[in-house]
Subunit: 192 residues, 2 copies
Amino acid sequence: MSRTGRRPGDSGARRAILTAARSAFAANGFHAATIRAIASDAGVDPALVHHYFGSKEDLFAESIALPFRPADAAGIIMQHGLERAGEGAVRLFMSAWESQPTRDALLALLRGALTTEHGADALREFVGTALLVRIAAAMDIEDAEVRVALAAAHLVGVAVLRYVVGIEPLRAATVEELVVLVGPRLQSYFDG
Amino acid sequence: MSRTGRRPGDSGARRAILTAARSAFAANGFHAATIRAIASDAGVDPALVHHYFGSKEDLFAESIALPFRPADAAGIIMQHGLERAGEGAVRLFMSAWESQPTRDALLALLRGALTTEHGADALREFVGTALLVRIAAAMDIEDAEVRVALAAAHLVGVAVLRYVVGIEPLRAATVEELVVLVGPRLQSYFDG
Protein backbone atom coordinates (compact mmCIF):
# COMPACT_ATOMS: atom_id res chain seq x y z
CA MET A 1 0.00 0.00 0.00
CA SER A 2 1.47 3.38 -0.94
CA ARG A 3 2.37 5.45 2.06
CA THR A 4 4.32 8.10 0.11
CA GLY A 5 4.08 11.60 1.44
CA ARG A 6 2.45 10.62 4.70
CA ARG A 7 3.37 13.09 7.43
CA PRO A 8 1.90 13.96 10.83
CA GLY A 9 -0.82 16.48 10.05
CA ASP A 10 -1.86 14.75 6.83
CA SER A 11 -4.22 12.47 8.66
CA GLY A 12 -7.22 14.84 8.57
CA ALA A 13 -7.05 15.18 4.80
CA ARG A 14 -6.37 11.46 4.35
CA ARG A 15 -9.34 10.56 6.49
CA ALA A 16 -11.60 13.02 4.65
CA ILE A 17 -10.53 11.52 1.31
CA LEU A 18 -11.15 7.94 2.49
CA THR A 19 -14.60 8.87 3.83
CA ALA A 20 -15.50 10.63 0.58
CA ALA A 21 -14.18 7.66 -1.40
CA ARG A 22 -16.29 5.14 0.53
CA SER A 23 -19.44 7.21 -0.09
CA ALA A 24 -18.64 7.76 -3.75
CA PHE A 25 -17.93 4.08 -4.47
CA ALA A 26 -21.07 2.96 -2.62
CA ALA A 27 -23.23 5.57 -4.36
CA ASN A 28 -21.86 5.30 -7.90
CA GLY A 29 -19.96 2.04 -8.24
CA PHE A 30 -16.23 1.80 -8.86
CA HIS A 31 -15.99 2.86 -12.53
CA ALA A 32 -18.39 5.80 -12.31
CA ALA A 33 -16.85 7.30 -9.17
CA THR A 34 -14.19 9.89 -10.06
CA ILE A 35 -11.11 11.05 -8.20
CA ARG A 36 -12.17 14.62 -9.08
CA ALA A 37 -15.56 14.26 -7.34
CA ILE A 38 -14.00 12.47 -4.35
CA ALA A 39 -11.40 15.25 -4.00
CA SER A 40 -14.07 17.93 -4.25
CA ASP A 41 -16.18 16.17 -1.64
CA ALA A 42 -13.16 15.95 0.69
CA GLY A 43 -12.25 19.59 0.04
CA VAL A 44 -8.81 18.83 -1.40
CA ASP A 45 -7.07 19.01 -4.76
CA PRO A 46 -7.32 15.87 -6.95
CA ALA A 47 -3.52 15.85 -7.15
CA LEU A 48 -3.41 15.29 -3.40
CA VAL A 49 -5.60 12.19 -3.75
CA HIS A 50 -3.17 10.74 -6.32
CA HIS A 51 -0.23 11.82 -4.18
CA TYR A 52 -1.59 10.03 -1.09
CA PHE A 53 -3.25 7.00 -2.66
CA GLY A 54 -1.93 6.43 -6.17
CA SER A 55 -4.56 5.05 -8.55
CA LYS A 56 -8.34 4.86 -8.04
CA GLU A 57 -7.95 1.13 -7.51
CA ASP A 58 -5.43 1.67 -4.70
CA LEU A 59 -7.72 4.31 -3.21
CA PHE A 60 -10.58 1.79 -3.21
CA ALA A 61 -8.32 -0.80 -1.59
CA GLU A 62 -7.27 1.66 1.13
CA SER A 63 -10.88 2.75 1.66
CA ILE A 64 -11.64 -0.83 2.72
CA ALA A 65 -8.33 -1.17 4.62
CA LEU A 66 -7.22 -4.01 2.34
CA PRO A 67 -3.83 -5.17 3.67
CA PHE A 68 -2.30 -5.56 0.20
CA ARG A 69 -2.26 -3.70 -3.13
CA PRO A 70 -4.66 -5.26 -5.67
CA ALA A 71 -1.86 -5.31 -8.25
CA ASP A 72 0.22 -7.46 -5.89
CA ALA A 73 -2.46 -10.10 -5.19
CA ALA A 74 -1.52 -12.52 -7.98
CA GLY A 75 2.15 -12.38 -7.04
CA ILE A 76 1.41 -12.99 -3.35
CA ILE A 77 -0.91 -15.92 -4.14
CA MET A 78 1.69 -17.52 -6.40
CA GLN A 79 4.81 -16.65 -4.41
CA HIS A 80 5.46 -20.39 -3.90
CA GLY A 81 4.38 -21.30 -7.43
CA LEU A 82 1.08 -22.13 -9.12
CA GLU A 83 1.19 -25.55 -7.46
CA ARG A 84 0.74 -23.87 -4.07
CA ALA A 85 -1.66 -21.12 -5.18
CA GLY A 86 -4.61 -22.75 -3.38
CA GLU A 87 -2.91 -22.38 -0.05
CA GLY A 88 -1.68 -18.90 -1.03
CA ALA A 89 -5.19 -17.75 -1.92
CA VAL A 90 -6.65 -18.94 1.41
CA ARG A 91 -3.88 -17.19 3.34
CA LEU A 92 -4.19 -13.89 1.45
CA PHE A 93 -7.99 -13.86 1.72
CA MET A 94 -7.97 -14.70 5.42
CA SER A 95 -5.31 -12.05 6.12
CA ALA A 96 -7.86 -9.48 4.98
CA TRP A 97 -10.87 -10.92 6.83
CA GLU A 98 -9.06 -11.61 10.09
CA SER A 99 -8.21 -7.90 10.46
CA GLN A 100 -11.15 -6.23 12.23
CA PRO A 101 -11.16 -2.87 10.36
CA THR A 102 -10.91 -4.66 7.00
CA ARG A 103 -13.63 -7.13 7.99
CA ASP A 104 -15.96 -4.30 8.99
CA ALA A 105 -15.31 -2.56 5.67
CA LEU A 106 -15.84 -5.78 3.69
CA LEU A 107 -19.09 -6.46 5.54
CA ALA A 108 -20.24 -2.90 4.76
CA LEU A 109 -19.39 -3.52 1.08
CA LEU A 110 -21.36 -6.76 1.06
CA ARG A 111 -24.30 -5.07 2.78
CA GLY A 112 -24.14 -2.34 0.14
CA ALA A 113 -24.11 -4.93 -2.64
CA LEU A 114 -27.23 -6.57 -1.18
CA THR A 115 -28.99 -3.23 -0.75
CA THR A 116 -28.32 -1.14 -3.85
CA GLU A 117 -27.41 -1.80 -7.45
CA HIS A 118 -24.49 0.64 -7.30
CA GLY A 119 -23.21 -1.15 -4.22
CA ALA A 120 -23.19 -4.37 -6.25
CA ASP A 121 -21.53 -2.53 -9.16
CA ALA A 122 -18.74 -1.29 -6.90
CA LEU A 123 -17.98 -4.74 -5.56
CA ARG A 124 -18.23 -6.40 -8.97
CA GLU A 125 -16.10 -3.81 -10.75
CA PHE A 126 -13.42 -3.77 -8.09
CA VAL A 127 -13.28 -7.50 -7.36
CA GLY A 128 -13.71 -8.42 -11.02
CA THR A 129 -11.31 -5.97 -12.65
CA ALA A 130 -8.73 -5.24 -9.99
CA LEU A 131 -8.46 -8.74 -8.56
CA LEU A 132 -10.00 -11.73 -10.37
CA VAL A 133 -9.27 -10.82 -14.00
CA ARG A 134 -5.69 -10.06 -13.05
CA ILE A 135 -5.18 -13.22 -11.01
CA ALA A 136 -6.68 -15.25 -13.86
CA ALA A 137 -4.34 -13.57 -16.36
CA ALA A 138 -1.34 -14.45 -14.21
CA MET A 139 -2.28 -18.15 -14.15
CA ASP A 140 -1.34 -20.15 -17.19
CA ILE A 141 -4.39 -22.47 -17.11
CA GLU A 142 -7.42 -23.15 -19.30
CA ASP A 143 -10.75 -21.53 -18.34
CA ALA A 144 -8.79 -19.44 -15.85
CA GLU A 145 -11.53 -16.82 -15.39
CA VAL A 146 -14.30 -19.18 -14.32
CA ARG A 147 -11.93 -21.26 -12.19
CA VAL A 148 -10.55 -18.22 -10.38
CA ALA A 149 -14.11 -16.90 -9.92
CA LEU A 150 -15.18 -20.24 -8.38
CA ALA A 151 -12.17 -20.30 -6.08
CA ALA A 152 -13.07 -16.74 -5.02
CA ALA A 153 -16.68 -17.85 -4.51
CA HIS A 154 -15.55 -20.59 -2.17
CA LEU A 155 -13.58 -18.10 -0.09
CA VAL A 156 -16.43 -15.58 -0.04
CA GLY A 157 -18.77 -18.30 1.20
CA VAL A 158 -16.35 -19.25 3.98
CA ALA A 159 -16.31 -15.58 5.06
CA VAL A 160 -20.12 -15.36 5.00
CA LEU A 161 -20.66 -18.53 7.06
CA ARG A 162 -17.72 -17.82 9.42
CA TYR A 163 -18.12 -14.09 10.09
CA VAL A 164 -21.73 -13.24 9.22
CA VAL A 165 -23.84 -16.30 9.91
CA GLY A 166 -21.47 -17.84 12.46
CA ILE A 167 -21.87 -21.52 11.52
CA GLU A 168 -20.10 -23.27 14.41
CA PRO A 169 -17.39 -25.47 12.81
CA LEU A 170 -16.31 -22.58 10.56
CA ARG A 171 -16.44 -19.97 13.32
CA ALA A 172 -14.27 -22.14 15.54
CA ALA A 173 -11.73 -23.19 12.89
CA THR A 174 -8.26 -21.64 12.91
CA VAL A 175 -6.83 -20.09 9.77
CA GLU A 176 -4.37 -22.99 9.54
CA GLU A 177 -7.23 -25.52 9.65
CA LEU A 178 -8.93 -23.61 6.84
CA VAL A 179 -5.70 -23.58 4.83
CA VAL A 180 -5.45 -27.39 5.19
CA LEU A 181 -9.11 -28.02 4.31
CA VAL A 182 -9.94 -25.34 1.74
CA GLY A 183 -6.49 -24.98 0.11
CA PRO A 184 -6.62 -28.34 -1.76
CA ARG A 185 -10.11 -27.59 -3.17
CA LEU A 186 -8.94 -24.23 -4.52
CA GLN A 187 -5.79 -25.93 -5.81
CA SER A 188 -7.91 -28.40 -7.76
CA TYR A 189 -9.47 -25.42 -9.58
CA PHE A 190 -6.03 -24.06 -10.39
CA ASP A 191 -4.69 -27.47 -11.48
CA GLY A 192 -7.38 -27.46 -14.21
CA MET B 1 -43.66 -29.34 1.68
CA SER B 2 -46.87 -30.03 3.59
CA ARG B 3 -49.97 -28.90 1.73
CA THR B 4 -52.47 -30.70 3.97
CA GLY B 5 -55.74 -28.92 4.51
CA ARG B 6 -55.18 -26.37 1.77
CA ARG B 7 -58.50 -25.25 0.30
CA PRO B 8 -59.59 -22.24 -1.72
CA GLY B 9 -60.28 -19.60 0.91
CA ASP B 10 -57.37 -20.66 3.11
CA SER B 11 -54.96 -18.46 1.22
CA GLY B 12 -55.61 -15.31 3.28
CA ALA B 13 -54.82 -17.05 6.56
CA ARG B 14 -51.83 -18.88 5.02
CA ARG B 15 -50.43 -15.63 3.69
CA ALA B 16 -50.94 -13.87 7.05
CA ILE B 17 -49.13 -16.71 8.83
CA LEU B 18 -46.19 -16.64 6.40
CA THR B 19 -45.88 -12.85 6.72
CA ALA B 20 -45.98 -13.07 10.53
CA ALA B 21 -43.46 -15.92 10.44
CA ARG B 22 -40.98 -13.96 8.30
CA SER B 23 -41.15 -10.99 10.70
CA ALA B 24 -40.86 -13.18 13.79
CA PHE B 25 -37.85 -15.14 12.51
CA ALA B 26 -36.08 -11.95 11.37
CA ALA B 27 -36.81 -10.16 14.66
CA ASN B 28 -36.11 -13.01 17.11
CA GLY B 29 -34.10 -15.68 15.35
CA PHE B 30 -35.34 -19.19 14.64
CA HIS B 31 -35.24 -20.76 18.12
CA ALA B 32 -36.72 -17.79 20.01
CA ALA B 33 -39.62 -17.26 17.59
CA THR B 34 -42.71 -19.19 18.73
CA ILE B 35 -45.62 -20.64 16.78
CA ARG B 36 -47.89 -19.14 19.45
CA ALA B 37 -46.63 -15.59 18.83
CA ILE B 38 -46.70 -16.06 15.05
CA ALA B 39 -50.30 -17.31 15.25
CA SER B 40 -51.31 -14.43 17.50
CA ASP B 41 -49.69 -11.96 15.12
CA ALA B 42 -51.52 -13.53 12.17
CA GLY B 43 -54.82 -13.57 14.11
CA VAL B 44 -55.25 -17.34 13.93
CA ASP B 45 -55.16 -20.29 16.33
CA PRO B 46 -51.72 -21.93 16.82
CA ALA B 47 -53.32 -25.25 15.84
CA LEU B 48 -54.02 -23.82 12.41
CA VAL B 49 -50.33 -22.99 11.93
CA HIS B 50 -49.39 -26.59 12.71
CA HIS B 51 -52.23 -27.82 10.53
CA TYR B 52 -51.10 -25.79 7.52
CA PHE B 53 -47.32 -25.93 7.94
CA GLY B 54 -46.36 -28.81 10.23
CA SER B 55 -43.30 -28.03 12.37
CA LYS B 56 -41.65 -24.65 12.97
CA GLU B 57 -38.83 -25.77 10.73
CA ASP B 58 -41.23 -26.49 7.87
CA LEU B 59 -42.90 -23.13 8.48
CA PHE B 60 -39.52 -21.42 8.21
CA ALA B 61 -38.81 -23.32 4.99
CA GLU B 62 -42.17 -22.29 3.51
CA SER B 63 -41.67 -18.69 4.65
CA ILE B 64 -38.63 -18.56 2.35
CA ALA B 65 -40.36 -20.59 -0.38
CA LEU B 66 -37.75 -23.35 -0.11
CA PRO B 67 -38.67 -25.94 -2.76
CA PHE B 68 -37.97 -28.92 -0.47
CA ARG B 69 -38.57 -29.93 3.15
CA PRO B 70 -35.42 -29.51 5.29
CA ALA B 71 -35.83 -33.06 6.60
CA ASP B 72 -35.64 -34.34 2.99
CA ALA B 73 -32.44 -32.48 2.02
CA ALA B 74 -29.95 -35.22 2.98
CA GLY B 75 -31.98 -37.86 1.14
CA ILE B 76 -32.24 -35.73 -2.00
CA ILE B 77 -28.50 -34.93 -1.97
CA MET B 78 -27.61 -38.60 -1.59
CA GLN B 79 -30.30 -40.10 -3.79
CA HIS B 80 -27.58 -41.46 -6.10
CA GLY B 81 -25.28 -42.41 -3.23
CA LEU B 82 -22.62 -40.62 -1.19
CA GLU B 83 -20.26 -40.92 -4.17
CA ARG B 84 -22.51 -38.53 -6.13
CA ALA B 85 -23.47 -36.24 -3.23
CA GLY B 86 -21.31 -33.39 -4.59
CA GLU B 87 -23.40 -33.21 -7.73
CA GLY B 88 -26.59 -33.72 -5.68
CA ALA B 89 -25.75 -30.83 -3.38
CA VAL B 90 -25.09 -28.42 -6.27
CA ARG B 91 -28.38 -29.39 -7.93
CA LEU B 92 -30.46 -29.07 -4.76
CA PHE B 93 -28.90 -25.72 -3.83
CA MET B 94 -29.32 -24.31 -7.32
CA SER B 95 -32.94 -25.49 -7.51
CA ALA B 96 -33.65 -23.13 -4.61
CA TRP B 97 -31.66 -20.16 -5.91
CA GLU B 98 -32.84 -20.41 -9.51
CA SER B 99 -36.45 -19.90 -8.39
CA GLN B 100 -37.12 -16.15 -8.24
CA PRO B 101 -39.40 -16.07 -5.13
CA THR B 102 -36.98 -18.29 -3.21
CA ARG B 103 -34.00 -16.24 -4.34
CA ASP B 104 -35.67 -13.01 -3.20
CA ALA B 105 -36.43 -14.59 0.18
CA LEU B 106 -32.88 -15.94 0.54
CA LEU B 107 -31.43 -12.54 -0.34
CA ALA B 108 -33.70 -10.93 2.28
CA LEU B 109 -32.46 -13.48 4.83
CA LEU B 110 -28.84 -12.73 3.96
CA ARG B 111 -29.48 -8.98 4.17
CA GLY B 112 -31.09 -9.57 7.58
CA ALA B 113 -28.07 -11.57 8.72
CA LEU B 114 -25.74 -8.72 7.69
CA THR B 115 -27.93 -6.10 9.37
CA THR B 116 -29.08 -7.49 12.72
CA GLU B 117 -27.82 -10.08 15.17
CA HIS B 118 -31.21 -11.81 15.28
CA GLY B 119 -31.19 -12.00 11.50
CA ALA B 120 -27.87 -13.83 11.72
CA ASP B 121 -29.28 -16.04 14.51
CA ALA B 122 -32.24 -17.03 12.35
CA LEU B 123 -30.05 -18.03 9.43
CA ARG B 124 -27.51 -19.84 11.61
CA GLU B 125 -30.09 -21.72 13.64
CA PHE B 126 -32.12 -22.77 10.62
CA VAL B 127 -29.24 -23.61 8.27
CA GLY B 128 -27.18 -25.14 11.06
CA THR B 129 -29.80 -27.24 12.81
CA ALA B 130 -32.36 -28.02 10.13
CA LEU B 131 -29.94 -28.55 7.27
CA LEU B 132 -26.20 -28.91 7.90
CA VAL B 133 -26.19 -30.93 11.13
CA ARG B 134 -28.70 -33.32 9.62
CA ILE B 135 -26.86 -33.69 6.31
CA ALA B 136 -23.61 -34.28 8.23
CA ALA B 137 -25.32 -36.92 10.39
CA ALA B 138 -26.53 -38.72 7.27
CA MET B 139 -23.01 -38.94 5.83
CA ASP B 140 -20.81 -41.66 7.20
CA ILE B 141 -17.55 -39.70 6.99
CA GLU B 142 -14.98 -38.33 9.43
CA ASP B 143 -15.16 -34.62 10.35
CA ALA B 144 -18.55 -34.56 8.63
CA GLU B 145 -19.70 -31.30 10.25
CA VAL B 146 -16.80 -29.14 9.11
CA ARG B 147 -16.72 -30.77 5.66
CA VAL B 148 -20.44 -30.26 5.11
CA ALA B 149 -20.14 -26.68 6.39
CA LEU B 150 -17.30 -26.00 3.91
CA ALA B 151 -19.28 -27.51 1.04
CA ALA B 152 -22.20 -25.29 2.04
CA ALA B 153 -19.82 -22.31 2.19
CA HIS B 154 -18.69 -22.98 -1.36
CA LEU B 155 -22.30 -23.00 -2.56
CA VAL B 156 -23.20 -19.86 -0.61
CA GLY B 157 -20.24 -18.08 -2.18
CA VAL B 158 -21.33 -19.13 -5.67
CA ALA B 159 -24.78 -17.66 -4.91
CA VAL B 160 -23.29 -14.39 -3.62
CA LEU B 161 -20.98 -13.89 -6.62
CA ARG B 162 -23.58 -15.10 -9.17
CA TYR B 163 -26.77 -13.43 -7.92
CA VAL B 164 -25.65 -10.52 -5.71
CA VAL B 165 -22.32 -9.29 -7.05
CA GLY B 166 -22.83 -10.57 -10.60
CA ILE B 167 -19.25 -11.68 -11.37
CA GLU B 168 -19.41 -12.37 -15.11
CA PRO B 169 -18.25 -16.00 -15.59
CA LEU B 170 -20.52 -17.11 -12.71
CA ARG B 171 -23.49 -15.03 -13.80
CA ALA B 172 -23.27 -16.45 -17.30
CA ALA B 173 -22.71 -20.10 -16.32
CA THR B 174 -25.55 -22.60 -16.67
CA VAL B 175 -26.55 -24.81 -13.76
CA GLU B 176 -25.09 -27.80 -15.63
CA GLU B 177 -21.74 -26.04 -16.00
CA LEU B 178 -21.76 -25.33 -12.26
CA VAL B 179 -22.60 -28.98 -11.54
CA VAL B 180 -19.60 -30.07 -13.63
CA LEU B 181 -17.18 -27.56 -12.09
CA VAL B 182 -18.32 -27.27 -8.47
CA GLY B 183 -19.65 -30.82 -7.98
CA PRO B 184 -16.20 -32.51 -7.88
CA ARG B 185 -14.87 -29.99 -5.33
CA LEU B 186 -17.81 -30.65 -3.01
CA GLN B 187 -17.39 -34.36 -3.64
CA SER B 188 -13.78 -34.15 -2.48
CA TYR B 189 -15.07 -32.81 0.87
CA PHE B 190 -17.50 -35.72 1.13
CA ASP B 191 -14.88 -38.29 0.11
CA GLY B 192 -12.91 -37.25 3.20
